[in-house]
Structures are given as structure tokens and as C-alpha cells.
């Protein structure tokens, strides 16, 4: 029975179709869940897709955290099911307090859409379990605010507990300790700035994103 991934769509979200294509490509099923809904009973995991939820008004994710769906997502995560936030989804999760830290504007103060080589620093999460530890993968970043920051105590906890899952080989945006992706203490809430769904075929110049989705629909 293929697993069903619920893809959260806020007004302004735009990567939902791409995530859906990646999920289908590895044999999973998907369901779009509009932000006004609160019923998550028939999905096995949640991806909050990238884009500009509510126009990124105020700050990326700042308004999305108040959408009705977010309470349901929090409950969903409490039952130890997987929640992944990609790009804007990561920003939403930090704003909602489901992941620690924050994503500031890129150090260069411009939007960046480019490839990024990433080091896989933890495979102990449901979104990275099929990857090879310490391997390098080529994904794409596409953000204005991807500069991860947190206080020293959080950073120590992230490091100590193997909660940094991806780091940039060459820091493009000023992120603390080159952090590109993290997980929560229970390891079922994952946030990352790069877009694995953009690296799923040779004609996109990388297939390295497929194993993230293979992990997810396991």
C-alpha cells in the first residue's frame, strides 16, 4: 500500500506541484491540503511545500503559522508522524515554534536560485534515512531568507544530539555553521532550505533529491 504524503498549500505556496511530482516519481501518493482544512486523518506524512505563504507578508511564515491547518499539523507531529518543511515550509515551522532558530535574510541581501552541494550529516530522520551518511548531494536553493540562525544553547543542542541533517559545502547565505537543514528533538519534524524536489531527474542535472522522497514514503 503506497504511502500518502499530505502537501500543505497556503495561498501563495507554489512548490506543491513539484513536491507532488517527486512523490509520484518514487511511487508514493499525494494529497493537497488547503490551509483552511484541519483534517489530516488520511495522510501518512506532511510536507509543507515552498513558496510565499500569505505573500510572506510581515516575515516569511509569520502569518502562515496562524492558518487553521497549523494546529492540525502540530497535533499530527505530536503523534510522532513525519512533518517536513521545505524552504518556505522550514520558515513556517520555525515561526510556529515547531523547530528552533530562525531564517534571516541572506547575507548578500539578494534572492538566490542556484545549485548547492550539501553534506549529509545525519541519516537518522525519516526524510534522510535512505541517504548515505557524510555523502555529498547536489540540490538547488531558491530563497531570500535562508540564513539560519539560533542562540548558542540551541546550536549546542543541535550539534550534541545529531540534529543538523544537512550542511552547505560552500555557505551561500551566511547560515550559522553552514546549516541547511535540522530536525526536532523527536526527529520527526524536519526543516531544510534546499529543494530536493528540484533534483529528481537527469534533465534537471541531478537525481540526488529522489532518496529524500524514497525515505519519506518508506
Amino acid at each position: 500500500m503506497p504511502k500518502t504524503v499530505g502537501i500543505v498549500v497556503f495561498p501563495g505556496t507554489n512548490c506543491e506541484f513539484d513536491v507532488a511530482e517527486a512523490v509520484e516519481k518514487v511511487g508514493g501518493k499525494y494529497k493537497f491540503i488547503f490551509h483552511s482544512q484541519t483534517d489530516l486523518t488520511d495522510v501518512d506524512s506532511i510536507v509543507i511545500a515552498g513558496g510565499f505563504a500569505h505573500g510572506d507578508y510581515l516575515r516569511p511564515g509569520a502569518i502562515a503559522r496562524f492558518s487553521p491547518i497549523m494546529e492540525a499539523v502540530e497535533e499530527f507531529a505530536q503523534s510522532q508522524k513525519t512533518v517536513v518543511g521545505i524552504c518556505n515550509g522550514f520558515q513556517v515551522l520555525t515561526e510556529a515554534g515547531l523547530l528552533p532558530g530562525a531564517l534571516q535574510k541572506n547575507a548578500g541581501l539578494t534572492f538566490l536560485c542556484q545549485s548547492a552541494v550539501l553534506n549529509v550529516t545525519s541519516t537518522n530522520t525519516p526524510f534522510t534515512s535512505k541517504l548515505k551518511l557524510n555523502s555529498k548531494v547536489k540540490l538547488y536553493i531558491n530563497h531570500f531568507s535562508g540564513n539560519y540562525t539560533c542562540n548558542d544553547q540551541t546550536l549546542n543542542e543541535l550539534k550534541k544530539n545529531d540534529r543538523i541533517i544537512l550542511t552547505y559545502e560552500n555557505n551561500p547565505n551566511g547560515s550559522t555553521e553552514n546549516i541547511a537543514g535540522i530536525c526536532n528533538e523527536n526527529r520527526n519534524i524536519i526543516g531544510l532550505m534546499p529543494h530536493p524536489e528540484r533534483a529528481i531527474s537527469d534533465f534537471l542535472d541531478s537525481r540526488d533529491g529522489l532518496n529524500f522522497f524514497n525515505s519519506l514514503i518508506q
Binding site: 536560485c113 531558491n142 559545502e169
Partner: protein, 797 residues
Amino acid sequence: MTNKAEIYTSLGLTDDEYKLIIGNLNREPNDLELAMFSVMWSEHCSYKSSRIHLKRLPTQGENVLVGPGENAGVIDVGDNLAIALRIESHNHPSAIEPTQGAATGAGGILRDIFTMGARPIALMDPLYVGPLNHPRHRWHLEGIVRGISNYGNSVGVPTVGGEIHFDSCYSGNPLVNVACVGVLEKDKLVLGQASGIGNRAILLGSTTGRDGIGGVSVLASASFDTDSSDTEKLPSVQVGDPYEEKRLIEACLELIEKGLAVGIQDLGGAGLTCATSETAARADLGMDVDISKVHLRETDMTPIEIMTSESQERMLAIVTEDNMDEVLKIAKKWEITASVIGIVTAPIDSVGYLRIFNGYENEPIAVTPAKSLADEAPLYDRPKSEPKVQEVMFPSELNFGISNEQNNVSDQAEKSTGKNSNLNIDIKSDLFNMLLKPEWIFKQYDHQLFLNTIVSPGNGAAVLRLAAPGIKKTDKAISLTTDGNPKWCAVNPYYGTYLTTVEALTNIAITGSVPQAIINCLNFGSPENPEVMWQFSQSIDGLKAACEDFMVPVVGGNVSFYNSTDNIDIDPTPVIGAIGLHPNISKIIKISDELLDDNKEFEFYVVNGPDILLQDKAFSLSGSIWATQLHGYNGGILPTIDTEQTKNFLKNIAEIVRNPDLGIVQIEDIGQGGLLLALAEMLIRFNELKSSKQQLLSDPQKIDESSTKLKLDGILGVRLIETLSINSLFSELPGRAIVQVTKENSQSFEDTLKLNSVRYYPLGSSKPDKIIINNEANVDVKEMIEHFRNSLSGYMS
């Protein structure tokens, strides 16, 4: 009467136009009617100076579903799919407020596409700005790119290409053109018509405010002076909201998908006046509009302000009474404000009237035939006269393209190459001065969304999988390009436009696609200057000739006049957009990993054109970057193409590059900058790819991607065939390409070209590290790449 005269003059109408309005109405117009006529009859909306010329363009084709005149052109691409495409300019707003000007340009063209029922899948942005050594021009470029980035990324449509040109003629008036492409199922095509008497007109989207009032007449139909008037025009610039537009896209596509819209039209230049009069005129009907129903941003707005506001992100949908509730429900879901503002009315004595009410219970405050506004602006055949080009003569060694005299071939070729020439030309320095890495621009654009981008920006024509959300995926692809060469067109607008079109078609064909259609954005100076009108008319004739020769229809276009500063008109800048169809995405050329092996050997060829070893007058330097920007030679006779040969080349090359057995590694068109620049760009691309491959395999902590220093083992260079002349190296004769082929397949490549009667000339063979030219000039490839990396970002960051 004096009072009236003052009013209509200040609105940009002439005495004769005023008389014409009286003739149309059989009475004097009131102020509201006058304002409506002034925006609809502005140059921007009515094309009154250009229409008689545009009529000459060929617009018919088997694949053309909708030609010029609607919101966008639509072509049939098979599989029950169609593509909507359009190009527009947003030059004047961008000169005053680059960020908002460029942003609203993107917003406007997107609405033109989804109004046809098409999902927008790609934007392209050709930009022309002043040289970057001036801070104002850097401010222009930075703002324009930020505007496109902010809007395009947020609205969720990838920006997949464009071009960037620098020239002092754009110092006070940068050009921001924007093209958009959308995909739709053929049977979902919707036109901007208000058909069906009794149907309702629903205004969807943003509130109507005082922004952009008279934008078309104040901004786009007049020139700039460098005194303070730019800032006085600031209130005419609209402000965009990509989030509103994103929701508007989703809402409109949903109501079209569900078959709820009889017709739909965006509100752009001339706002409500344009949308209501055009939709009614196209259906030969009338419309009653109640402005008290319009949702407003500000209080106390006058009827004139409401009817001419150019507030962004608004659409007018024509809906049957039965479907109204469903439409309003969809609007609510997407948090879009919707107001029922009008009703389609029957013609009276076969004239459809647009009647404006401020509350239906009151008398109408404006009554005019819809067609008078939309279609009956005067057409002008403005005076034309050929300008005198200030020629700065070429030295005799390079002159054979100008005097038409064939110089002594072998002697001259020897003399005019390399550093030993008595011209003292430094080939390497000239090449370096032409290198430009556009990455600083396109990495600010999301160019990947929807997973369609197969060939990304900076690599010639963009190639996209033919697919879109909500539409089945196909194995086909489309190729998109926009090309302009104002320096050619300054020398000879007729032939310059012809050659630009050839360049665009070449860019399409060498990706493996067959050209399907042309769109054009014609950026010119003041039409009141007879020399500009002559350039414009010539340019149209050149485009017509090229489209007829190569059998491609024109499906849409845009004219932007009044591009000048302090009475100095820009060089004629027709931007030609072309779209091609590729039958199979698996046959698109990609440089595979095994080709990056150090031991691989390659051959390089020039395909089509005259023999590169001859001093053929086709290799004129006239109008080239080398001549005009690096050495200050103007005028001359442009390079000339052999039409029959080029037809054959364009016909065959697409199929040849799709053949996987010919060892083709990459193919690059020869255009601006000429042969040497094209070759340099190929080597840079190949070596950069190799470098990033090595990076992926290397140890961590060794690479600094942001550095301008290249770290690479085994750099690919080329030893060029001897003896190439300066003309061969730098002439911009288009309709040609350089092809890099693996050595082991080079024979079958040559055989295939012979079989198809496509001319080719060996250009050189791979050698490590250097470009060796005539055994004299050496270009260090590593140094070249480092220079390239810093070429634009060095100015902008």
C-alpha cells in the same frame, strides 16, 4: 471652449482628435468621456502611429489559433495543447521607479496570458541599460532585477531567460521588456469578449486606487527630460502585489477550468475604460457599468479616477447570471474581492454603447460607442525620413565589408590577425572586454519552478519541458529566446531587424526545436521624429521579410515609442522573441559526465555561412560590438547572409542536433560578439561544468565557490585553424553555429552535414589550457574564466 481646449491638450489629445470625438458622439464630450477617450486613444493603447505599419506583418499560419489583437497570441502544439505567448515593454515606469516598474511589467504580462485560460509557465526579461560605470545605471539594473525577482518569484512563475545589453543610449531610459508563455488545453481557450446580452461583468482582484492614473498617456506616450520631471511623474507608476496576483491566477484558472467564464480580460493600461470597452467592442455589444459597485482603495475617488486608474492585479470576468454564485465562491476561496459591476447590453441601432453610471438609479454619466473607444482612434501615417548615420570609417584592412571592394584575400588575412598586425589589435583584451557573466542577474530569479527547465538561463535559448500544473505531462519541449541587436538596427533598421530575426530562429533551431512563431517588442524613439518613423517602418519591413523567408508567423507584439532622453532617441531596438517545438526531451543535448574526462578529445566546427578562412564581405564588422563598442567604428554595410543556405541550415540543424550518434557535445550560435566570443562561452561552460563535477567528488573544505578563482584540473582549450582574420573572429554574421563534437564521432558528424548539404568548416581541435589563435595570440582559459566570473558581479556586488 478655451477651457475645454486646455483640458484636452493637457490630456494629450490634439485639436483634430477632439473634433473626431465630437464626430463620434455627435456632441461635445463631458469631462469623463474626454478622459476615457484620452487614455484609449493614447499611443500606448491605440497604436495610432504604428498600426498602419504593423498591418504588413504576416500573421497567418496553420498552427496559429489566435493572432495579434487579442490579449496574447495562441499557437497549437498538438496533443490538444496550445501555447499562449506575448511580449510587452515596461520601459517608462522602470526609468522612474525601476523596482516597481519592472515588477508591474511582469504582473501585467502574466495577466495577459492567464486571461486566455493558460497557466503561465515562463517569463523572459530582455533588459537594456546604460553602461555600469555610472551609479545611476547600476541603480537602474539593480532595481529592475530586484523588481523582476520579487514579483516573478513570489507569484510563482519561473523567469527562464532574457538578455542584457549595455549602451549609453539607454542612460535615461532603460528598456525593460518581458515575455511570457503559458500552456492550456486547446478546448479551454477563452477570449476577451463580453458576449451574451444580460451576462454580468465581475471585477476581480485588487482594490481600485489612485495609482497609475493616466499611466499610459502621461508616461508611455511622452519622453523624458533630465530636469526634475521624472519625480513629478512618480504618482503615475503603479505598485504591484505579487501575492494578490498569485491568488488571482489560481482563482481565474479555476473558474476557466470549470467553464464559468464566457470571456475574461485583464485590466492594464487605461484600466476599467479599456477592459469594458474592448470586451464589449469585440462582441459587437454594449455594456452598462456602475462605478459605485467598484471596490475602492481610497475614499472620494472621482468617476474619472475610477475609470482610468491602472491599479494592478485586477481582472474583468464576463459570467452568466446562473454562474455568478459559483464564481463568487471561488473568489472567496482564494481571498479575492469580487464585485458585480456591469451587465452586457444589446446594441442600439447596431451600435454597442458603453454607459457609465454612478448608481443605476441615476442618469448615466458617460455614454459612448464601445468601438469608438476601443477601435476607432485615428491612425497616423506619420512623416518619415532617412537619417544620416555618422560613419566613422574602418581602417582599410577591415574595410572590405564597407566599400564592397574585394580586397586581396590571402595578404589581408595574414596581416589583420594577431598582435603583429599593423592595426595593433589585442585580440585577447578585446575578447575579455566582451565577456559577460549574467549569473548575477538570473540567480536572483527562480528559474526552476514546475521542474520544466531543461536548459537554464545563460545558455542560449531556454528549453522547457512542455508541461504545466493541472495539464498532462508530455515528452515534448519548447525552446524560447528573445534577441535584440540595436547596433545592427542603428546601421540599417531593415536588415538589422532581418538579421535579429535570423539570430532568434537560429537560437531556437540549434536546441533541436522547430521554430513555430515570432513575437516582437518594438522599442523606438519618438514617432513625431520622422527619422524614428523611418527606422520603425524599415524595421517592420525587415521583420516581415525574415518571417516570410523563413515561414514563421508573427502572433503578437508590442510597440514602445518615446524612448528618448533630452530629445536623443534610443537606437532602434526591436526585440524578437521566438518559440520552437522539440519533439522529444530525451534528445536534448546535455553534457554528460563521461565527456568531462580529461582524456577526451574534441573537434570544433563552424556550421553554415561562408568559409571562415576567406575574407568574404559577409564577414563585415559593421554594427558589431567589436566595431561599435570597442573601437568606435560606426556605419558601414551589415554582414549579409545567404538566404537559401540559411534556410537549409535552419531546416536541417534541428534534426541533426537531435541525432544522438553524431557525438555533439554542445552547440552555440554565433551572434553578438562573433565567433571568438561564442567559442569562449563554450569553453567556459564546459570547464565550469567540469569544475563543479570535480567539486562534487572532492574532499570537503577545499572549495570556495564564491571565489573568482577557478579550481580545476585538466582545462579544455582549443587550437584554432590558421589563418583567421579579425573579421572572421569578430564579425557577427548570424545564422551560424559552432559545434563541439567528440573526435571519434567527428567523421559521422561531417558526413551527416554533407548529406544534408549543410556547409561546415573545421575551426580547431581541443588542446589543454589555451585558445591558440594563428599561432600568435594565446588566451589562457583559466584566466579567461576568472575574468568572466567577475565581469558583472564585480560591478554589482
